[in-house]
């Protein structure tokens, strides 16, 4: 526990000070925010950037020519560059701004609509969030193609034997979460992508739960698509990213049509602008895209080395303490996890636990976490989920654990 104490005392106190909400009370108790997998809190730099934008250069971009407009345009471009560097894409034009992971996934699934037929197969896994299930079910329905699902083992990890077998059927696409939002499992997607590419299968990665916790390198991964949300990584609401390989972007059709994505239009025909603009119809969420830059800068300034180490130690401490509570059963036991854990209790419904924790100022999630198929597989109606972030502390975990003990006794 040395690391926790060391970093905590120095750096984490400083980091916590940047998050105004962490100084507030819930039900007259100091807020203990342990629902970071749903959405993280935002540092002052992000919040202030939004105000700065509206107070100084709010403007629609690229639709004319005045100073406010070019300032906004430049700032949006800056975020695009920052995101591009953050995930190491070859080119910033491969970064498409969307309204969130869900929209990103819909763009990809819709992009395949013309390429699939009834002989084709789409692969998902049992770990997926609804947002990485329903668009694909819809695609399979529209194209009469088949959906196959990679099962999980008892540990909560993907069944690689199944993967090796199913891949021989030459599915068209594998859509997979990088990290599970229920069990925390980090999938070995680099391995899966390698196997898939041997068979010319495209791979989509839902990185919503991965991106706040460790560095992602799309060139090294060699994934064909990758998506994530700003709001789960200290950034503002309503902004998502879709990364795609260059050659895919050229041919993929957009999900939405309208202003700003068009080069030339008459009532008979229209011509797309080049990507990323082709996929960014209408006025974008300019303020929040601009402030998203500050969220990535926040992460960059701390650095993933520190983030990973601190979160890992804190998470190990959490797991160890939860394991000491006999009424609690932790769901899954994968080797590599993002710092989130689901559990149930023998003598209390998750809903009651969540309500009681909330009464003590502790925010956790309860329910099916938008992963009902996984719940069904695990034979659960819901769990309590505790998910950590860089600003959480050992003291908060101690308070969670002592409150849990009180509730469950």
């Amino acid at each position: 526990m040395n690391i926790i104490n060391m970093i905590e005392n120095k750096q984490i106190t400083e980091i916590r000070k940047q998050f105004p909400i962490l100084q507030t009370n819930i039900n007259k108790k100091p807020l203990v925010y342990l629902d970071n997998a749903s959405t993280t809190q935002k540092p002052n730099s992000v919040i202030n950037k939004i105000s700065e934008y509206y107070k100084n250069y709010n403007s629609n971009i690229e639709r004319g020519f005045h100073t406010l407009g070019s300032q906004s345009f430049e700032q949006v471009n800056k975020t695009r560059e920052t995101v591009s560097k953050f995930i190491n894409s070859q080119n910033s034009s491969q970064i498409i701004f969307t309204s969130g992971t869900t929209e990103s996934i819909n763009i990809v699934a819709n992009g395949f609509a013309n390429e699939l037929n009834e002989e084709d197969i789409v692969i998902l896994s049992e770990l997926e969030h609804h947002s990485n299930i329903v668009p694909w079910i819809n695609l399979c329905r529209n194209t009469n193609s088949k959906l196959e699902v990679i099962p999980i083992l008892k540990s909560g990890e993907l069944d690689f034997k199944f993967i090796h077998n199913i891949i021989k059927k030459r599915p068209k696409i594998i859509a997979l979460t990088y990290a599970s939002n229920v069990i925390g499992t980090i999938n070995d997607i680099e391995q899966i992508i390698k196997i898939a590419h041997e068979y010319n299968i495209k791979v989509f990665i839902d990185a919503a739960q991965a991106v706040p916790h460790f560095a992602i390198n799309v060139q090294k991964l060699d994934c064909d698509f990758l998506a994530f949300s700003s709001h789960k990584m200290y950034g503002p609401m309503g902004v998502g990213v879709l990364y795609c390989k260059e050659e895919i972007l050229q041919n993929m059709k957009p999900l939405k049509f309208g202003g700003a994505m068009i080069e030339d239009v008459s009532f008979c025909d229209f011509k797309y602008r080049e990507h990323p603009y082709k996929f960014e119809a209408g006025t974008m969420n300019i303020s929040n895209i601009i402030a998203f830059n500050e969220a990535i800068e926040f992460i960059n300034q701390i650095g993933f080395e520190v983030i990973e180490k601190y979160e890992k130690d804190l998470f190990e401490y959490l797991i160890q303490e939860l394991q000491n509570i006999s009424q609690i059963k932790i769901i899954g036991n994968p080797k590599n996890k993002v710092p989130l854990v689901s559990f149930i209790a023998k003598n209390m419904h998750p809903f009651d636990i969540g309500m009681m924790l909330n009464a003590s100022g502790i925010a956790v999630r309860t329910g099916n976490h938008c992963a009902q198929p996984l719940m069904d597989k695990l034979n659960l109606s819901g769990t309590v989920r505790v998910s950590l972030s860089i600003y959480n502390t050992k003291e908060e975990i101690d308070f969670l654990v002592s409150t849990l003990k009180k509730i469950l006794l």
């Binding site: 039900n27 809903f351 009651d352 909330n358 309860t366 329910g367 109606s381």
Partner: protein, 143 residues
Amino acid sequence: MLKEKKDIDRIQNDIIEEFQIFENDMEETLEYLIELGNNLSILNTEYKIDQNKIKGCLSNVWLICKKEDGYLFFEADSDTKIIKGLISLLIKIFSGQTSQNILNSNLYFVEKIGLKNMISSKRISGYSNIVDKILNLAKSYKD
């Protein structure tokens, strides 16, 4: 019947008064609800069927209604204790009332005992679905 004499608003006011000792302390309020839930008489398993289940709740909630001498009587169960406690209050309010009284009623006690959460995130707690079910039953038992 005794119940008849206490109208719905008086029972609600009694409940609000009863909860006042907690001074809006959420923890104590919930603990008391759990206690109330534990004291609710158990619903016979024969009634715990899909037909009696209330849709749209995070947890399983079953509710049945019987009519005797023109008055409606409710029984219910849930696998979450807090919801069960809340239901026990609803039963206290509505059991033994006429359909007409129930349909004319206006519920306000939940907000007043500091459980606004329960109402606003209604899709999760299912509180409003339970109330809707009671109203629908009252309507169907109306002559």
